[in-house]
Amino acid sequence: MSVYHYLTVSAILFALGTYGVLTRRNAIVIFMCIELMLNSVNLTFIALSRHLNSLDGQIFVFFVMTVAAAEAAVGLALMIATFRNRETIDVDQINLLKW
């Protein structure tokens, strides 16, 4: 399998994640779509790292996973705090900062 096949799969997953982030109203589902996009980029990194015989891309994936874990912890804590104050995590109703 060439690197282009993996890149195409990753592009499809990234586009799906974009669609989910733009359309969904539930904040947790938006969060999961962001995870999907991060994972598609990870697939790109590892495919290119294999293609170029280098480990640097895989180290990058390692750090992306670290950041995703930190983001999950903080983001979900934020959602719990929001739900405690507003009784909802529907992004159409959390619009205090919206212009």
Binding site: M1, V9, L22, I28, N53, I59, A73, V74, D92
Partner: protein, 167 residues
């Protein structure tokens, strides 16, 4: 054989990615996302990166998804399932299709080049993938590694502060 397997796994990954986006209940989305993560782990194994596949399963499908499922069940989001659950479908579809067309165009047009490294399949087989990653992390990428540990510490403290009763 490998080609058939690749297309099968790619099909499962894309279909479960689609289910993540389309499922009305967040729990179903989360389970479809776990499925996608496992498919990506299979891809990592096919790309000779077994350590990455292991931490994909352990960290993503294990830790992060358990955290997400905990929060979904804590907030009891299944009760508001009957209402509208999307907005701006047309514009979002156009935007994501543009992203897809753009990327696929560049993949078809361009050629992947770059500085070639010296990590061959033979080296991965004899020395081991985990050992190579560990060596790179503790020598060449030591500073980012330490910064990542500080990031995780900050995230732990931040999560505890944010989820406290009276913020």
């Amino acid at each position: 054989m490998e080609t058939i397997f690749f297309y099968l796994v790619a099909l499962v990954a894309v279909v479960s990615g689609f289910l993540v986006v389309r499922c009305q209940s967040p729990v179903n989305s989360a389970l479809a996302l776990v499925n996608t993560f496992f498919c990506l782990a299979v891809f990592y194994v096919m790309l000779y990166a077994p350590f990455m596949a292991a931490i994909q399963v352990i960290v993503y499908a294990g830790a992060i998804m358990v955290l997400i499922l905990f929060v979904i069940m804590l907030l009891n989001l299944g009760t508001e399932a009957r209402k509208r659950y999307t907005h701006g479908v047309v514009w979002a579809a156009i935007a994501s299709l543009l992203v897809l067309v753009n990327v696929v165009f560049f993949i078809k047009r361009g050629r992947v080049t770059g500085a070639e490294g010296d990590i061959t399949d033979y080296l991965i087989k004899t020395e081991g993938h985990t050992e190579l990653i560990g060596k790179a992390l503790y020598t060449e990428f030591l500073l980012p590694f330490e910064i990542a540990s500080i990031l995780l510490l900050v995230a732990i403290v931040g999560a505890v502060i944010l989820a406290k009763k009276d913020v």
